[in-house]
Symmetry: C2
């Protein structure tokens, strides 16, 4: 879960409301996305307004969920609280205040947007506790993933384990999971029980995703299948986005079918995000400066475009396998990126991403047929996948 | 939590029912325990019957809870299931079946005994899910503690992290916590909500206890106070025993006061256990062979008798501080043990243990005034502290 959504590598600065909205997600010409609802739904909306809408939704979610999160963290014993407040970006390592950097609250925003889409403002307000619980689970997995992956930077700061040691980072993560499920256990609404069961199931899936990620990195490149990498990405990135949407639906009293469609919407959007994130990890993002292009290749990461290239059966696939077996040298990175591209890895990932977004939109229209009501979820899905490739 | 109750160092073989019951917990002459209810309650019972009762209760708890545990573990994705089944002693590392060794089920037995004491057999049956949840939480903390403490042996087998690596042991622990709270979220009884909140709170306290344990081991011996070590032991060992009893009470519809008394009963019994375990860690247990006497001293562990000796203000306290500052040498261990004893550490721990058991019995009589009904909880408390010193 080291590179889960918008947290590790991407962490883009939110565009100022009304400012440059950035390049929107674009489906490559002739891809399946054109057949999906994505174009249809988006035609009725102006793109700057959409970007603005997502930013507003994220800021609003942060404002609604932060008090719940802060109150929950405030109940922790001092040693765990210290690590948690540091991890959330609310304190420096020495305990002095810090101003945020706690992430963009995509998952709480999805909970609240789904609750709002199917239940209106009252349900949205009632779902704030669940939104905070989802964010706590997300952060618990980040704390643990950073320990396992030995990642040293998170949200532009040193990771918790590098500051407080492995033990305290593990314990703080354990405590955040407990806090998440305690919030739901103490939420008097009857639906909180189903939300807790769903969130607990999601934790298990996130663990399976992190396991698969670690295991895949230890495989010989030629042994990894696309299905395995897609399944890993779904468990690691898609599952919690799906659960966030599903839990919002539960609070709105959605039917099983609607909840399933919301879950599928979040999962597909999460996969689209991961595909685009992987593309950026190889070819960079011209809209952002400071992003180390080729970092994933240098780390010999078996990202989705790379695995697509490796299994392509092209002559470049064999070349890529050879290149990946060699020790990393900086001058090779451009050549490796070109080889992945020639083997079709880039096109495949772009088409897949478009396809996943199309599927996400189909699921969304199934869960929330009224386009007006679906607007918030749509804007958030487009926000997380809004990056040039 | 590395040496939590009956799991790390002690793990005595259950005496055969009706067989040699072993030395019962004995309060040193003239200690506060004589003023407690412990003697009174125990006088009416024959000691062999008591030992037999605890063994029967533990075996019965195992039989009732294991199917719930196995079903829950069966829902895990394969990689996490594999680690969990190994950790529970139900599979070998290669996935072939193993026959148990999953611990003595003290905590589930306490849940069920408390439910039974205040609610009878029907409540006992209804509390099986909660008992399994408590056992899952216990095992989640063991998995993580072993990673943090680098402990290599647990229940006479290699610890999970030594077999599967740190990452999978951490992930399996994370999944077990989720599973515990999912079991309660899916338990249709309304009380399961309060049980979940209490169990989640307990997880946070267990984390704080493990943090304190690690932190205390890094302190200079002279800086550690008895209050700190007692608080650590209560959080690390007492909290989950207390929660187990309290949760059993919740299922029986106990009043807040009764639940609080059950919690206090478990906590005090847990502290009594820890004190006696620490005594055994220094002076050994003549009833058991193969127990490495002095292991805690060799590791320079700041166990309760050692800290009591260090803060005693006696000339031996200064000598002990010096001895503890030196590198460990095998020939010194007898001398260190004698110094702790001369500084009063052994007597203090024995008196404290007796006092804690007396307090436990007082709390028990408050929660369950009928001695007949309280018999199961009493037998379990005496079982866990039943060891010669």
């Amino acid at each position: 879960m080291g590179d889960s959504l918008t947290e590790s590598r991407t962490e883009p600065t939110l565009p100022a409301p009304g400012g440059q909205p950035g390049a929107e997600f674009r489906s490559p010409a002739g891809t399946p996305a054109e057949r999906g609802s994505i174009g249809t739904q988006r035609e009725g909306r102006t793109e700057p307004a959409e970007g603005h809408e997502a930013v507003t939704l994220l800021e609003r979610a942060r404002a609604e969920v932060d008090p719940v999160l802060r109150a929950a963290l405030g109940t922790l014993p001092a040693p765990m609280r210290r690590v948690a407040l540091y991890h959330f970006g609310w304190e420096q390592a020495d305990g002095s205040p810090a101003d945020g950097g706690s992430g963009k609250a995509i998952r709480p925003a999805l909970v609240l947007a789904a609750a709002s889409a199917l239940g209106g403002p009252e349900v949205r307000a009632a779902a704030a506790t669940a939104a905070a619980a989802v964010e706590l689970v997300h952060n618990f997995t980040l704390l643990h993933d950073d320990v396992m992956d030995r990642d040293t930077t998170r949200r532009h700061r040193a990771t918790a384990w590098t500051v407080f040691g492995d033990a305290d980072a593990i314990l703080a993560g354990d405590a955040l999971q407990a806090l998440a499920l305690r919030l739901l256990a103490e939420d008097p609404l009857p639906v909180s029980r189903a939300a807790a069961a769903r969130l607990a199931d999601c934790v298990v899936e996130l663990c399976a995703g992190q396991h698969a990620d670690t295991a895949l990195e230890h495989c010989v490149p030629g042994e990894v299948t696309l299905e395995e990498v897609l399944a890993m990405a779904e468990a690691k990135t898609g599952a919690l986005l799906g659960s966030a949407c599903a839990i919002g639906g539960l609070y709105a009293g959605a039917s099983d079918e609607e909840v399933a469609a919301l879950d599928a919407f979040g999962r597909e959007a999460g996969l689209a995000f991961q595909l685009i994130d992987d593309i950026i990890g190889i070819w960079g993002d011209p809209r952002r400066t400071g992003k180390p292009v080729g970092a994933d290749l240098a780390a010999r990461k078996k990202s989705l475009p790379v695995v697509a290239a490796l299994v392509s059966g092209t002559p470049e696939a064999a070349e890529l396998a050879e290149l990946y077996a060699r020790p990393s040298e900086k001058e090779d990175l451009d050549h490796i990126a070109l080889t992945v591209e020639r083997a079709g890895g880039r096109d495949w990932a772009q088409i897949q991403a478009a396809d996943r977004m199309a599927r996400a939109m189909q699921q969304l229209s199934r869960a929330v047929p009224d386009p007006e009501s679906a607007g918030g979820l749509l804007a958030l899905a487009e926000f997380v996948t809004r990056r040039s490739s």
